[in-house]
Point group: C2
Chain length 458, copies 2
């Protein structure tokens, strides 16, 4: 174990050695060491280097070599800004020309509009045109994910002809493992895997061996739907078509991995009420600044709860022990509400929840809220009777708890369902929001009941 | 849009038509329709069918045909139990023989031990042996994910020889897109992609064109680590080796997609305090039963908060308005604690947090808790002064809020970090647990302060 662990946890390259080669100006040695690394590690080294070192890197490597690691390296928006301000514009535009189109577009989208325009001007016309076309698609759609560098053959060609075309197109193609089959109108009519092509006889016609049941996505489809399809069908790439079934591009599995990760992080962030969960290297102040708007809004909501409770000052001053159960009732409503919120939000993301089952699901959540609320209440009633010997208080607390948990689970399920229905992104229905709303509801129930049955308490 | 949407949201097959063909006994027509479907859709049809229909499916299809969709279909453990009780054991064992080894093992692992043993007895010795070997690996490790059906060539062969071997091994291989290169001791020394092989000259030696910097994982590595590596490096498959670098198997991207999904769901479930988030089709009672243990534990914890508050009955009965701010202070401590818990848990999962940055991270969280706490408190103090004209109460509430939020963020970050350090799964550090713990801490701070400064309040 030990040996392998070390390899995984430590860096796969020697930063100091590379730094030294850069400084000493030993171009050949630096190139040899650096280019032997996997592009991911090259990117890691690059992002960890200072401007001064990066400037040397541009001198030591060709735009093509920089492009290779740049397209697999993930950085923050402002880091890209900074890098492309430093980098010579001509060097940068040749670098973009060397990238996969989809990756070039992803990076360009993070730069200021004027910068994009000036870089496009310096590129060769064909690439600039293709990039411009891709820049139009919205980021979270199939169009925003796809690349136009796919391999396609005519349905009327033979296996031999297809193999020749494949070898020609391979160097530019994003994947060579699926070959898409087009009719004379350039419409997608089939797909054939490289595997099938390799085991087929040379004289067979593509038409006869292709898979006609090709599953495609529309260019306007949401990236989350695309990810779910690719996951279900275990595709390595999926074709993207327009409304007339013309093949526009393909989306490959590596981009989908990022989407799945991104969407999971998004759901997770919402539940926690954090806007940007994956930035563990922000400073204390940056972190505080990001979380503050949310927390201030929640403070104001908390003030609403406080005002409501303030109305019950009379009740509270008569039976002070009532206050002792405020955190319990509010907390349990919050907990069960968050549980049902989480199940529903996740169900919507993974596409498990469809139109028909929505009503049933809300009902199930409310039902399970009632059952768990009742069970917890029975247990709590016994504890309160034993500890405080106040069965009337116990009844009020437990009755409130049951109702609060039922309402909270129903609210937890309904809010994202209704938002999804109204095509609103359920971002507002985050965990803290639901918890605080449930605080308000549960306090109204609790003190409403307590005030009504006041005479039995005192 | 409309047309494509329909295809995506509706089923890709006609269940009624297939049902009818099954019932009418039209074997040829059924086979034609069914086998034209993608295996994912075949599996969907199969899982939605009743026992009676499934029995017919076994008669109409060969074990190989059933194997093809069975290995890509995900079902619950008890569904597998049920299916393999119904299915003829000989049919079942031939079916497992036809599957990819890793998928066969995944399904077999869900069956009772005696059933596995009896099925293995019916299989051919070679397959049974390979399956037995794979059954030994723990589920969440690289060994548990890998398949032994990979393509390997000797480093001394030529491209031509390699292509011949590839064609031979292709039908059984899980992926043909990476060919692993072994030395005479069967140790992994390189990798070459099919793409590189196709563009290489026939007479070149594999040794000369292979990539020697092959990145592998150890058979005992955690599946989450494997997933992070594959995501970072954009691999379609990664080799799995033992401690002497012998190639044992490969893990393909489709299995990793499931792991990423599974791990994200796991983190998400923990944050929400739900054990099994992806089961939206459970009944009301099943849902309640799953959530009840958690909720009961939290009720007991809530009872601890209530007892602590009970100790402050005197303070409460003197200044009833103090109770009004209980939900606010407890809730905000819960919210900010959950935020920092979420960031840290996610950071651990994605491997972004390493040993060195842990202390810095805890410090950052506490600092950002203090800054946000102070900011919210200043705002809250103004509101309280305006609404209630009680600056002393305002000071106590706001002072408590600042401390509570600082402690809560620190606790939210420390709990998972310490657990990770102690190699305990941070499952106990779920969102509701942290919220309830923070409730207790914040109430102690709030009422401790209020009691101390009682004289200024009344």
């Amino acid at each position: 174990m030990a040996e392998e662990e070390v390899v995984l946890e430590e860096e796969m390259y020697n930063k100091e050695a590379l730094d030294e080669l850069l400084l000493s100006g030993d171009i050949d040695q630096f190139r040899e060491e650096f280019l032997e690394l996997h592009t991911y590690d090259q990117g890691e080294y690059f992002t960890e280097s200072s401007d001064e070192y990066r400037d040397k890197i541009y001198h030591y490597l060709s735009p093509k070599e920089v492009a290779e690691f740049m397209e697999t390296t993930e950085m923050e928006d402002d880091e890209y800004d900074h890098i492309f301000e430093e980098m010579d514009a001509r060097y940068a535009s040749s670098m973009f020309e060397e990238m996969s189109l989809d990756n070039a577009v992803d990076i360009l989208k993070m730069l200021p509009k004027t910068k994009i325009a000036s870089l496009l001007l310096l590129m060769d016309k064909e690439t600039a045109g293709e990039i411009k076309a891709l820049l139009h698609y919205e980021e979270d759609t199939a169009g925003g994910l796809m690349t136009t560098e796919f391999i396609s053959v005519s349905s009327l060609s033979t296996v031999r002809e297809a193999m020749i075309q494949l070898k020609e197109q391979a160097p530019q193609a994003e994947t060579i493992y699926y070959i898409f089959v087009l009719n004379e109108k350039k419409q997608l009519v089939g797909v054939i895997s490289l595997r099938d092509l390799i085991v087929a006889e040379n004289d067979e016609y593509i038409e006869d061996i292709m898979n006609e049941r090709v599953i495609s996505v529309n260019v306007a489809d949401d990236q989350e739907d695309v990810a779910n399809i690719m996951k279900d069908y275990d595709f390595l790439a999926i074709p993207v078509v327009d409304y007339q079934n013309h093949l526009l591009g393909i989306i490959t599995i590596d981009d989908i991995l990022d989407v799945i990760d991104e969407e999971a992080s998004e759901d997770y962030s919402k539940l926690a009420g954090v806007s940007d969960i994956d930035s563990t290297d922000d400073s204390m102040f940056a972190t505080a600044r990001k979380r503050l708007p949310w927390l201030m809004a929640l403070t104001v909501m908390g003030m609403i709860t406080a005002s409501i409770l303030g109305q019950f000052e009379d009740t509270l001053s008569k039976v002070a022990l009532l206050a002792a159960f405020i955190p319990l009732i509010g907390g349990m409503a919050g907990n069960s509400g968050t549980q049902s919120l989480a199940v529903v939000v996740r169900g919507i993301s993974t596409g498990e929840i469809d139109e028909q089952s929505k009503f049933k699901l809300a009902l199930r959540e409310a039902g399970s809220g009632f059952i768990t609320g009742l069970s917890c209440s029975v247990m709590l009633f016994i504890i309160i009777c034993v500890l405080y010997k106040t069965p009337v208080l116990g009844l009020i607390v437990c009755f409130s708890l049951t109702i609060a948990m039922t309402v909270a689970t129903l609210a937890g399920a309904m809010v994202p369902l209704v938002m999804h229905r109204l095509k609103i992104d359920p971002a507002v229905a985050s965990g803290p929001f639901i918890s605080t709303t449930n605080d308000i509801i549960s306090m109204l129930i609790y003190f409403g009941l307590a005030t009504t049955f006041m005479s039995y308490l005192t």
